[in-house]
């Protein structure tokens, strides 16, 4: 870039002019940083204010600037002037709106905001994107069930070529085996015909969709926009280039042979829901033992579900399926009666209508836990919760065990590739602190997570990813693919690869179809993003990407292991290789790097370091302590802004620097702050754990582990370990922010000042 021509624009609107002495701030910029162009304005966001800045940029006198006004989270569309880097120094939410006007401490805070802003500006560049080579627009859909079929159809409708890969010889998946569907259209009351055949025909007729049956995926390499997928169709291997992948591998029924305690195997007339469905489809509902018609039937819900010895979770669809089957049985014959033995009937939303319909039709619901299923006498004895006694139902013609869903996050038919490594990887992936252990700088074991051992469905990897972090798509709990159910449902920890349908959580056909549409939209986003070199969720549009200074790299591999998204591979010499379009730009690699050689154009260890050092630290006799807050931009920083918007007040001794994720915080910043003379340091980020809220999944968990080691370092420096702390703050916590900050400020105020002040 040519010569740097910085400017500082100071806004006096929104109460800033009344709260601080803006002339003094201008002096800071002019005398301390020799900024030639400084301008005060009554309202920078007005047409006049913006025109002034635009004139400066267009005339060539300014090519980078600090806008000292509102938070960087607002007015982003207005304060954008071509390619000129813009840094926002917040004087509104965190100064004028949250500190007493015209106070000495408020003025000092505002001056520090200017210092940090100008320093940040001096170390930031407009990022040049990394655009993928051999770009492909094709969406690959894995799995030809209802989810996969819907995904293929929707992607094709949106104008993207589709490659649909199915393991078996035909399309339709489990859905094709069902005799009828649960209601999925208004009035949501009656059993509906199975229409999956229509969808299969539509997919086969679509010229945009290439269907490959009997096909397995043997290798997946590359990155979003340019995945190289090796397919094996009857032993014949071909390599295809695809832009994004939707994994719709669905589910497998829970192994009923493990349900001996519920009478499975004690009589041919004790069957699973899947077996009953086959009979209903064939139209011959007779007893397997003697061929007599089935007139009295009982369904045992939660067979092997919500049971710590089997599946610990609720599969959510079995209640609906049993209601459907019971309705089918009672409508077939007026003499038939159907009993459903349930613990809690789960009929969310419109399924309640279906439940009522079944009651009307005479299906009888018995609330209680099934205890003993006697296949000889054909009775189900259960503990009736509404009568408070044990009740035997019988003699019955057929007993149906409603078994749950196991996610196909692995391929049950394929041998595990490096079984030990694959399994270990899956187990470790459930545990966000596991990579720390791998990296070897954490002494002792990570916290044990109780359901790790039972959560991994056996089998080989689906995509066989050629990633440093292993061949599997990471799972979270109970074997389901990792995704944040509420905030970012389709995201996996492998960018450009989206899961949909029951591989993500148990769901029925209608939900799966809806899920597929969501995942396809994400896949399209990934394709278009990689074409521009832009990041995916949550930093959509971010063109920066991590760069590694190979001259300084020690090949310690911390970045390759800790990256939450497996974006960094290793070459033959063990050097890290970044796959930019896999990267989500969280900076966890940057925080991991012990030699600070991983940088982004507009965010790097040196930049934040300089910002920490730029602030003025009053001497130890002034009784003005300084507290550094490193706040996650995703939740904590907005919460702080909101606290300001709500006019909450907090300690004026706090200096807040936004970070992309707590995972990007390097230990060097902590030591710099302590050496500079800050009295306390607080990290504010998202919740970690299996109910994480971290937008980069593992970032805050990793930061927590790193910080747990800081205490010892502080001790060796003869400093109290309470000086460095970490707080979990969610976006809804704005009312709590002042409280948290003030409590910490009080604690620090009660301590002696940091002895390193003034060195």
């Amino acid at each position: 870039m040519s010569e740097k021509k910085p400017a500082v624009y100071l806004c006096k609107g929104c109460g800033i002019g009344e709260a601080v002495d803006v002339d003094a701030l201008e002096t800071v910029a002019k005398s301390e940083f020799k900024i030639g162009r400084c301008l005060q304005h009554a309202a920078l966001c007005s047409d006049d204010g913006l025109a002034t800045i635009r004139n400066d940029v267009e005339s060539g006198s300014v090519n980078r600037m600090v806008i000292a006004a509102c938070s960087h989270r607002v007015m982003t569309d207005k304060f954008q002037f071509g390619a000129a880097p813009v840094v926002r120094a917040g004087l509104r939410e965190q100064v004028a709106w949250s500190q007493p006007a015209k106070a000495e401490d408020t003025q000092m805070l505002a001056a520090d905001q200017i210092r940090m802003g100008v320093t940040q500006l001096s170390r930031t560049e407009t990022p040049a994107p990394s655009v993928v080579q051999e770009f492909s627009r094709t969406v690959m859909v894995v799995g030809g069930g209802i989810t996969g079929l819907t995904a293929a159809r929707e992607a094709a409708k949106a104008g993207y070529p589709v490659l649909l890969v199915e393991k078996t010889d035909r399309l339709g998946g489990w859905a094709a085996k069902w005799s009828a569907r649960m209601p999925h259209r208004p009035p949501y009351r009656d059993v509906q015909p199975n229409d999956v055949g229509k969808l299969v025909t539509a997919v086969q007729a679509d010229k945009q969709i290439t269907v490959k049956t009997n096909t397995l995926i043997t290798r997946t390499a590359g990155q979003p926009g340019a995945f190289a997928v090796t397919l094996s169709q009857g032993g014949q291997e071909t390599t295809e280039r695809v832009g994004a992948i939707v994994v719709a591998t669905g589910w497998r029924p829970y192994d009923a042979s493990k349900l001996g305690h519920l009478g499975h195997g004690s009589s041919p007339d004790v069957v699973t829901g899947i077996e009953l469905e086959a009979m209903l489809k064939a139209g011959t509902l007779t007893r397997k033992s003697n061929g007599a018609p089935v007139e009295r039937i009982a369904f045992v819900q939660c067979a092997g579900s919500r049971d710590p010895d089997h599946l610990p979770y609720c599969s959510s669809v079995c209640c609906g399926v049993s209601i459907k089957q019971a309705l089918q049985v009672v409508t077939r014959s007026p003499k038939a009666s159907a009993y459903i033995v349930y613990e809690e009937l789960r009929t969310p939303g419109t399924a309640e209508e279906f439940y009522r319909q079944a009651q009307k039709a005479g299906v009888i619901f018995m609330k209680g836990k099934a205890g003993k299923v006697d296949g000889g006498r054909m009775t189900v004895t259960y503990q009736d919760e509404l009568l408070g006694m044990d009740v035997p139902l019988g003699p019955l013609d057929m007993i149906v065990l409603a078994t749950g869903m196991v996610p196909n996050s692995t391929n049950p038919d394929a041998p595990a590739v490096e079984p030990e490594k694959g399994e270990a990887q899956l187990k470790d992936d459930i545990n966000p602190v596991a990579p720390i252990k791998v990296a070897g700088y954490l002494s002792g074991e990570g916290k044990a997570w109780p359901h790790i051992d039972k959560g991994v469905p056996p089998g080989g990897p689906i995509l066989n990813l050629q990633y440093r972090q292993g061949p599997h798509i990471p799972i979270l709990a109970d074997g389901f693919s990792d995704s944040h159910y509420i905030c970012f449902p389709y995201e996996t920890r492998r960018s450009g690869i989206y899961t949909a349908g029951p591989v993500r959580r148990p769901m029925d056909m209608a939900e799966s179809a809806e899920d597929a549409m969501g995942a396809v939209l994400k896949a399209i986003q990934a394709i278009e993003g990689s074409k521009m070199g832009s990041s995916l969720h949550p930093r959509v549009g971010d063109l920066s990407f991590p760069k590694i200074g190979h001259d300084k790299c020690t090949k310690c591999r911390r970045c390759t292991v800790e990256c939450p998204f497996g974006a960094i591979d290793e070459d033959e010499q063990g050097r890290p290789v970044i796959n930019p379009s896999r990267c989500r730009r969280c900076g966890t690699c940057m925080g991991a790097c012990p030699v600070q050689t991983i940088t982004f154009d507009n965010y790097n260890p040196q930049m934040v370091n300089a910002m920490i050092e730029a602030n003025e630290i009053p001497d130890e006799f002034s009784e003005k302590p300084r507290i550094l807050v490193l706040a996650c931009e995703n939740d904590a920083y907005p919460a702080i802004d909101m606290a300001g918007i709500n006019r909450h007040q907090w300690s004026p001794f706090v200096r807040i620097i936004p970070v992309r994720c707590l995972g990007s915080v390097t230990m060097q910043w902590i030591s710099t702050a302590l050496q500079k003379g800050y009295d306390g340091i607080m990290l504010m980020g998202c919740k970690s754990g299996d109910d994480y809220q971290c937008h980069f999944v593992k970032g805050s968990g990793i930061a927590k582990e790193r910080m747990s080691k800081v205490g010892e370092t502080l001790k060796s420096l003869m400093l109290e370990k309470e000086r460095v702390t970490m707080e979990e703050v969610s976006i809804a916590d704005s009312h709590r922010v002042p409280e948290v900050v003030n409590k910490f400020a009080e604690l620090i105020g009660a301590m002696d000042p940091n002895p390193m002040k003034g060195f």
Binding site: S337, F365, M366, G371, V391
Partner: protein, 202 residues
């Protein structure tokens, strides 16, 4: 998992619920009962019943025929209709209990255990004979339905109350009062009987 063997003295009839749904007036609506318990909670004389309506309905589903048919619940219902008004699933609880009482009497369950049956029979005799109740005759018929000896005993025990009634003009002496159009009442009852037969309500 520990499930105690159910009480073997109790007979569970898997078809009983279906029989109730199809044969008791309002029984089809019973299928919609969601066991919320508003009926039992609203019942002013729930404490006088073996089981509240909610529990009775669950026992029907569990097939506990003997317990249901011999229960005092259907006999002690006073037809205040509070449960019917409040039921969120519009189950006509009162009708169901009334018809359960009728059926249990008809099928011979009720006589074994419940004296309310005897009272109901006496009441009905008076109602259809005179078109209204005559307290003296209803009471006498009811008392002597338990046998000659017990009839005398019950009568003597209540003699003082009866005399007080007479003294204060609450009970008359002489022939029973009758309604005017007894012929029409007979015709109405005959027609009702005919409809009941035709509709298969008996």
């Amino acid at each position: 998992m520990t499930v105690a063997p159910p009480d073997t003295s109790t007979k569970y009839d898997l078809d009983f619920a279906k029989w109730v749904y199809e044969n008791i007036e309002g029984g089809d609506k019973l299928a919609l009962c969601m066991q919320c318990g508003v009926c039992s909670g609203s019942c002013p004389i729930g404490v006088q019943m073996d089981y509240g309506p909610r529990k009775l309905f669950m026992m029907i589903r569990a097939g506990m025929k003997e317990e249901v048919m011999t229960s005092s619940t259907q006999w002690n219902c006073t037809s205040c209709y509070r449960c019917v008004v409040r039921c969120p699933r519009s189950v006509p609880v009162t009708y169901i209990l009334q018809d359960l009482a009728a059926k249990s009497a008809e099928l011979g369950y009720a006589q074994k255990t419940n004296e309310n049956v005897n009272f109901a029979r006496s009441f009905w005799w008076s109602a259809k004979t005179f078109g209204r109740t005559d307290e003296r005759l209803v009471t006498a018929l009811y008392y002597f339905s338990f046998g000659l000896k017990e009839g005398y005993q019950r009568g003597l025990a209540n003699l003082k109350i009866a005399l007080n009634f007479v003294k204060r003009g609450r009970m008359h002496i002489g022939l029973p009062h009758r309604i005017k159009g007894r012929r029409q009442l007979k015709a109405i009852l005959a027609k009702a009987e005919e409809i009941a037969k035709r509709e298969g309500l008996h």
